[in-house]
């Protein structure tokens, strides 16, 4: 069985599955049970400064969107950082770390943007024996209005400044958690690196309104007739998170910055995808909130199974494997030609591919009176829409045309050599780019 132990910026854990800073890690009771269930580490729910604790709303805090069978696809929340007293959290962190020395214990922090505040809290965290800190620059609601969370995370200069304070005031590794509510994720990542961060973690939640109550005419979750934007997470945000992780991983100046991948990780496969794009480990919140701690068992068995099949002995062999294949559109091979193929043995004749292609694409699927669906190669542009709408897995596939074959759509021979847009005759900038 593959070795799943990871060493993330010097923090060791028996597997790469950590619980993200959120309700699952808000107290000793939860974290002990999470460790019993098998989680490799936790990022404790974000702590604020000493004094009167934060207050949360007393109405609904979450909103959601669902797929078929009411499968939860996206979750939105208007919760704040921990609402329990600082000293209680610190005492519990210490007790749990003492009992689970082999698990990663990272403490998430969010205090005002003043050096004194950070100087005050860091020694208290160090004293618990925690393995590291994560700076929450991501929370999009409630705290940002107070000049914390994403209010800091959206200004690279602040990130760099706060990170530097932290590095100057503690020996613990420092992970900077990034907000996705910005245009270019590379900027805050570079700022974190400049400030001395050991790693970044991303993404935090995305500004969102999940739904509107059509009787009350108020956004949901609705509290006394009103609603506020919240933070979006869960399976729906995974594509956005993957892209942001990839953006950092493929930027040469940031390439050596370790990444903890977060956002919609629900199965071992999601985790493996984040890792292939450069994440050294992953953090999970919504999946645990949806299904409970037990899901980590599937993540562990699935990842080790996959690694065994691929002959990978350690997670380090997986991390970053897909990064060299991250490209830009203008560099994709325009001489690669494929056609959709329908496996008639698997086809259940629902006609969805036909409706999609006929109504909204290239009229490249034919339908016979007996409900046999076939691809018209002379029309098919290989857009993949039929594959995406077909309810039967692997029923429609994309088959590459061999070099030398004639594409019936264009009447041209498929060229063997690679050619992209930068040199394409239709590209007005082609000559320049080719130079």
């Amino acid at each position: 069985m593959a070795d799943l132990t990871t060493d993330f910026v010097g923090i060791k854990s028996p597997n790469p599955f950590w619980l993200a800073s959120a309700p699952p890690t808000d107290k000793e009771y939860n974290v002990r049970r999470a460790f019993e269930a098998g989680w490799g580490g936790v990022v404790w729910k974000t702590l604020g400064e000493a004094g009167p604790p934060i207050v949360n709303v007393n109405g609904p805090r979450y909103g959601a969107i669902w797929g078929a069978d009411r499968r939860l696809l996206g979750l939105n929340n208007i919760e704040l950082i921990t609402d329990r007293p600082l000293e209680v959290n610190l005492r519990e962190i210490k007790a749990v770390k003492r009992d689970y020395p082999d698990r990663a214990m990272v403490v998430s922090l969010m205090v005002p943007c003043e050096e004194e505040a950070w100087k005050a809290i860091l020694p208290l965290v160090e004293e618990t024996g925690a393995d590291g800190v994560e700076l929450n620059f991501g929370c999009p609601h409630g705290m940002s209005e107070r000049g914390m969370g994403s209010a800091v995370g959206q200004v690279p200069e602040y990130i760099e400044m706060v990170t530097r304070w932290v590095k100057q005031n503690t020996r613990m590794p420092c992970i900077v958690k990034l907000t996705p509510n910005i245009t270019d994720i590379k900027k805050p990542a570079a700022a974190a690196l400049a400030g001395g961060a050991d790693a970044v973690s991303l993404i935090n939640t995305i500004n969102s309104i999940t739904s509107v109550d059509l009787d009350l005419f108020a956004p949901e979750p609705t509290i006394d007739g009103k609603g506020a934007h919240g933070g979006y997470c869960g399976p729906a945000v995974k594509p956005i998170a993957l892209n942001m992780v990839a953006e950092i991983a493929r930027t040469p100046e940031l390439a050596h910055l370790p990444i903890s991948g977060i956002g919609g990780v629900t199965t071992w496969r999601d985790a493996a995808e984040f890792m292939a794009l450069g994440a050294g480990n992953v953090q999970v919140c919504t999946a645990a909130m949806t299904y409970g701690f037990k899901i980590v068992q599937e993540m562990i068995s699935g990842l080790s199974d996959y690694m065994d099949k691929k002959g990978m002995a350690a997670t380090s062999e997986l991390v970053g494997r897909a990064v060299p294949n991250l490209s830009d559109w203008q560099h994709l091979n325009l001489n690669y030609v494929a056609k959709a193929r329908i496996n008639q043995d698997l086809c259940i004749s629902c006609g969805r591919c036909f409706a999609a292609c006929e109504d909204t694409s290239h009229q490249a699927i034919s339908m016979s009176p007996e409900r046999v669906f076939e691809v018209k190669d002379d029309e098919c542009v290989a857009c993949n829409l039929c594959v995406n709408v077909c309810p039967v897995e692997d029923c429609i596939t994309m088959e590459q045309m061999p070099a030398g074959a004639v594409d019936p759509r264009t009447g041209r021979k498929v060229a063997a050599e690679y050619a992209n847009w930068t040199t394409h005759p239709n590209n007005p900038g082609a000559v320049k780019a080719a130079e």
Binding site: C350, G351, A355, P391
Partner: protein
């Protein structure tokens, strides 16, 4: 075990009230809101969906299921009812396993079709429970049309004609409207007086005058109807039953299955309805299964269906055969009745095995029977009808008969499938044709 359970002869009260109530409850329980949403989620919203093609009334199934899935079941009901005004009854009685659900792509994919029938019931029940009638009559046309027979064909025809603004008079020989919905369908398919409630709901369209207890041919002639109306629709079903030719068939206790079922449907108290200890049903269709299953549910100890041909030729679907088996009914195939024995009343019935060409094999056997139900087919009755073809009224197009201004549909018309849903389709289509003919 209660002594009555074993008692010989035809007696009432073999089962207690609780046992009867449990047996005659809904065959398929209605879906709850949650179940409906889960079931609706399974529909793929197929292009030019095969289930629509398989529905004799062409209900837009993917559309109505999507309307349920998106939280608008009343809109779903309207989608259903605009094609099939008896969508509520059809949801209960259609052999979906040979119609829409058989052709559902998820039947092909997983052997588990989308539960179209139950979803249809969910939507239509919801709307009907609110007492909403979603259609409005067009402005009166001043035309008057007679509809003979208040079964599914006649009701569907009358409703569509009334919707178009015509004045409709419905004549039915029986006391209550509904045809076989009221008198024939198995009790566990139409519970809680659904047939009557549905007729009342349908009549809310207005413009329909219901005259029950009026038989055409007895109380009024077809000629008179034609003279007094702009058009006539015949939806008279099949009033006669085929006779059993075996010697002894006249003995007491040898009964028509449809008559037994009608009594069962009309009795206010099932525990007062007598049934034999040993019941034999002769036939292989839906009527045979219904008579057998309901005998069993009334408390008959031994119930056997005997069919003269092979199993595969039975008109009762596989599903219905299994239903009968699950209730403890035994099915014997390839056997024909040759004699009914007994002294005044039937005591035994003798069969001879037949081969697949229906040739007698010489091997015989006897079954104990204190009741025998004949379910060997119904026939058209009535004089002065339009021309017939194969024992039924010959029709062309949307139910046009050999008589000018006379249309026919449902079981009485040639070429049908003898299902509630086909009767509805034919009644509806004839109404459209009548409307078009009157407009020119």
């Amino acid at each position: 075990m209660d002594a009555k359970a074993l008692a010989e002869g035809v007696i009432a009260g073999r089962l207690n009230a609780d046992e009867l109530a449990a047996g005659f409850t809904d065959l398929h329980a209605p879906l709850t809101d949650h179940e409906a949403v889960v079931a609706a989620d399974r529909c793929y919203f197929c292009h030019d969906a095969p289930c629509i093609t398989a529905c004799p009334t062409d209900i837009d199934i993917p559309l109505f299921i999507r309307q349920i899935a998106t939280g608008t079941p009343d809109a779903a009901a309207k989608t259903i009812l605009s094609q099939n005004i008896l969508g509520g009854m059809c949801a209960r009685v259609c052999p979906t396993e040979t119609l829409c659900e058989e052709s559902c792509v998820r039947e092909m994919a997983e052997g588990k079709p989308v539960e179209i029938g139950r979803l249809q019931r969910y939507a239509t029940d919801g709307l009907m429970a609110k007492g909403v009638h979603p259609f409005r009559r067009a402005d009166p046309t001043g035309r008057k049309i007679a509809v003979v027979g208040a079964g599914p064909a006649g009701l569907a025809c009358a409703h569509r004609l009334a919707m178009k603004g015509h004045d409709v008079v419905v004549f039915d020989a029986r006391e209550k409207p509904g045809g076989l919905n009221e008198y024939g369908i198995a009790a566990y398919k139409s519970t809680e007086d659904f047939a009557a409630r549905e007729v009342d709901w349908l009549m809310q369209i207005g413009g329909i005058q219901m005259q029950t207890g009026k038989a055409v041919g007895r109380d009024i002639t077809l000629e008179e109807l034609r003279a007094d109306h702009d058009a006539v629709f015949l939806g008279i079903g099949l009033g006669g039953v085929n006779a059993l030719s075996a010697p002894g068939a006249e003995k007491d206790g040898v009964l028509d299955a449809v008559g037994f079922i009608a009594d069962l449907r009309q009795t206010p108290d099932l525990s007062a309805l007598p049934v034999g200890r040993d019941v034999v049903v002769i036939g292989g269709g839906m009527t045979a299964v219904d008579a057998a299953v309901q005998s069993k549910l009334l408390g008959a100890l031994n119930v056997t269906i005997v069919y003269r041909r092979g199993r595969a030729r039975m008109n009762a679907s596989r599903y219905e055969q299994e239903l009968a088996a699950s209730k403890g009914v035994r099915i014997i195939c390839n056997a024909s009745p040759v004699a009914v024995h007994g002294n005044g009343s039937v005591r035994e019935i003798e069969f001879e095995y037949t081969d697949d060409a229906l040739q007698p094999t010489g091997q015989t056997f006897r079954l104990a029977a204190d009741q025998v139900f004949k379910a060997i087919g119904q026939s058209l009755t009535g004089a002065d009808l339009p021309d017939l073809a194969g024992g039924k009224i010959a029709v062309t197009g949307a139910g046009r008969t050999s008589l000018d201004g006379v249309w026919a549909g449902g079981d009485c018309a040639a070429g049908g499938e003898d299902l509630t849903v086909t009767a509805v389709a034919q009644g509806r289509d004839a109404a459209e044709d009548i409307h078009a003919a009157l407009a020119t």
